[in-house]
């Protein structure tokens, strides 16, 4: 058949399939709606998880200040506390790393960091703290559009620290209060400094909200007695999508300069992000399986019934010269029309329900969280295309067997079917 003939067949098949679906309108509508509801459930959940992932990413990158990349000596995270002197970066290391970052990603923001820990006291009681040392101006740069979020250090207050709200509550601290920090230096000697509270913040995680602090890098270095040193560099890239590619380039460039450094992306370092994403992905897979199975069964049922009811018609079409493949294509087209129409109705329902949910400002407290978060539904076109394609593929596979059987049965049997 030439291209004109193919076009004629496609148009004819589409029209024929649409009319056949209309012939059993109620059955077709029920199947279409079951697909639409399944699509809506999946699309809403996918939109919700997309927003959760985005929120968690922003929390990890800007809130926890993990940045997109962390550059440190290999093994620093595991052995750094036992042998800090082996893993610290001196000013020369830091400037070389900064030069490499500038060369590879000129628009990237970066800052040296130093993590310290110890005891914090309000003069009466003490508790442990974990502090991230970073220059206040660098912190603002790293946080970018979130620079005014709570917990950001103030460049005008060189001895000002920000503490997590759980920690502030534990010690009865408020903005303007003075605290003493007691810690050990890099050589293991006891050291203490006084600091002022300039702000409080929520880490969003109950496990860290009673011990986290941010403090100016100079103060952290003073407490740790590590002048000019840092334990890592944090890098925020202009485009998060480039994270892994730039990480590889930076690692290669540093290696070429004889600097053996580990370059880790944020998603490797944020355990919480990985755990939540893993759990939600698992739930999505479970939900998707249920929808796929129910939709496929509905399609199998409707196509099987259509095939049985139209057996005589199939025999007539075969007698008139329609090839077996064309018969199969006709029924598969009916499946595709049902799936695509169902998904389009599902898309409308998703937009409507998503808008409604977002407009009602529902909030909830996630497990292990310290504050309520808004329940928002995002819009993820890629997952919707994937859902539609998979439903069409599985529906087609489900319809293939009864259709194939019908197309291959002897014509005289089909014509004699009552």
């Amino acid at each position: 058949m030439n291209s004109v003939g193919t076009l004629v067949e496609i148009r004819h098949t589409m029209r024929f399939a649409a009319r056949n679906l209309k012939r059993n309108a109620r059955r077709s509508v029920v199947t279409l709606m079951s697909i639409a509801f399944g699509f809506t459930a999946l699309a809403l959940f996918a939109g919700y998880t997309m927003d959760v992932y985005l929120g968690l990413r922003n929390q990890a990158v800007y809130g926890e200040l993990l940045g997109h990349l962390t550059i440190s000596r290999p093994g620093m995270a595991q052995e750094g506390h036992l042998h800090p002197e082996k893993y610290l970066l001196d000013a020369d290391n830091t400037s070389k790393i900064e030069a490499v970052i500038r060369q590879i990603s000129p628009e990237a923001k970066f800052a040296p960091r130093l993590a310290v820990s110890g005891m914090i006291s309000n003069g009466q009681i003490s508790t442990i703290f974990l502090a991230e040392g970073v220059a206040p101006a660098d912190m603002r740069a790293l946080r970018g559009r979130f620079a005014n979020a709570s917990g950001t250090l103030d460049p005008d207050k060189p001895a000002g620290i920000t503490v997590s709200r759980g920690l502030a509550a534990l010690l009865g601290l408020k903005e303007g209060d003075n605290v003493s920090l007691l810690g050990s230096t890099v050589r293991g000697q006891v050291n203490a400094i006084d600091e002022d509270i300039v702000d409080t913040f929520d880490t969003g995680n109950a496990a860290t909200n009673d011990k986290m602090m941010f403090m100016p890098l100079a103060q952290a270095r003073a407490l740790y007695d590590a002048e000019g040193q840092a334990d890592r560099l944090t890098v925020v890239l202009p485009d998060v999508a480039q994270t892994d590619a730039i990480a590889a380039r930076i690692a290669t460039a540093l290696n070429a300069q004889g600097l053996k450094m580990g370059v880790q992306p944020w998603h490797e370092l944020s355990v919480f992000y990985r755990q939540v994403k893993g759990m939600l992905n698992m739930i999505f897979a479970f939900l998707f399986t249920i929808v796929l199975v129910t939709s496929t069964m509905a399609l199998t049922n409707v196509i099987s019934m259509n095939v049985v009811e139209r057996t005589r018609e199939i025999g007539t079409l075969r007698a008139l010269g329609m090839q077996r493949g064309s018969i199969i294509r006709l029924f598969l087209t009916e499946v595709v029309i049902l799936v695509v129409s169902g998904c389009l109705v599902g898309l409308l329902l998703t937009l409507l329900l998503g808008w409604g949910i977002n407009a009602t400002n529902i909030s909830y407290v996630p497990p292990n969280s310290t504050a309520a978060v808004p329940l928002t539904i995002g819009f993820d076109p890629s997952i919707m295309v994937i859902i539609t394609l998979l439903l069409a593929i599985f529906g087609g596979l489900a319809a293939w067997l009864p259709t194939h059987r019908a197309a291959h049965q002897p014509i005289i049997d089909a014509l004699g079917h009552v």
């Binding site: 007539t316 075969r318 010269g321 064309s326 014509i411």
Partner: protein, 230 residues
């Protein structure tokens, strides 16, 4: 010129559970081009089975059937399907129109299957509906037409591809006498005009009277084959 159909020692047996039913037990038959041949006989004599073989919608267990010079036993299903579409027209007892299509679209169907452009097919189908006298019902669906009108649509559908052969299995069995006469006149006139070979199975005496040749089947064998000089 060679015969349109050359049938030799044709056998066909059906298996119904543990029962074996020999429907054709060695049929030899030549059908000439332009011939009007009536196959008749008692119910169960093998008329429909023979027509199914001739119409290439069933294959024999034994024997050979040459259609337009081609040995059909060596043709693939695809080739047989193409052959049916281009060279054979069918008129069924129960009309077998596609219910979701209008009369016009039903007549267009064999052309559409061929891949004929829609406008050309529409024009051709419209002409045939005009020739069978139901052009005004072109956009009616089968469920809104009488039995006679439906069978006329079926005749138009059978002839629209200008086939070599028309197979009609009891074409008047579901029609009243008035409509039977109308349909017979039409089938005859159009087939003769188009020089189409016509093979039909029937019990209808009026049909038999018009045929050029009568083939009488009994228990799957031809027991009489004669020219009709009536």
């Amino acid at each position: 010129m060679s015969a349109l159909l050359e049938i030799r020692s044709l056998k066909r047996t059906f298996h119904l559970g543990h029962t074996t039913v020999p429907a054709l037990r060695g049929v030899d038959l030549d059908i000439q081009r332009g011939e009007m041949l009536a196959v008749w006989g008692a119910s169960g004599s093998g008329k429909s089975t023979l027509l199914n073989m001739i119409g290439l919608i069933d294959r024999p267990d034994e024997g050979s059937l040459c259609f337009d010079g081609d040995d059909t036993s060596v043709l693939s299903d695809h080739a047989l399907t193409v052959c049916r579409n281009r060279k054979i027209g069918f008129v069924f007892q129960a009309f077998n129109l596609v219910p979701v299509f209008s009369a016009l679209e039903n007549v267009m169907l064999p052309l559409t299957i061929q891949g004929v452009p829609e406008e050309v097919a529409r024009q051709g189908a419209g002409d045939w509906l005009d020739r069978v006298g139901i052009a005004k019902f072109a956009h009616h669906r089968p469920d809104r037409m009488s039995g006679g009108q439906r069978q006329r649509v079926a005749i138009a559908r059978a002839l629209v591809t200008q086939p070599m052969l028309v197979i009609a299995d009891e074409p008047t069995a579901n029609l009243d006498s008035v409509n039977s006469t109308l349909v017979l006149d039409l089938l005859w006139q159009l087939s003769e005009d188009a020089h189409v070979t016509c093979v039909f199975a029937t019990h209808d005496q009026r049909l038999l009277e018009r045929a050029h040749r009568h083939v009488l089947l009994k228990d799957g064998q031809i027991i009489d084959d004669r020219e009709n000089h009536a």
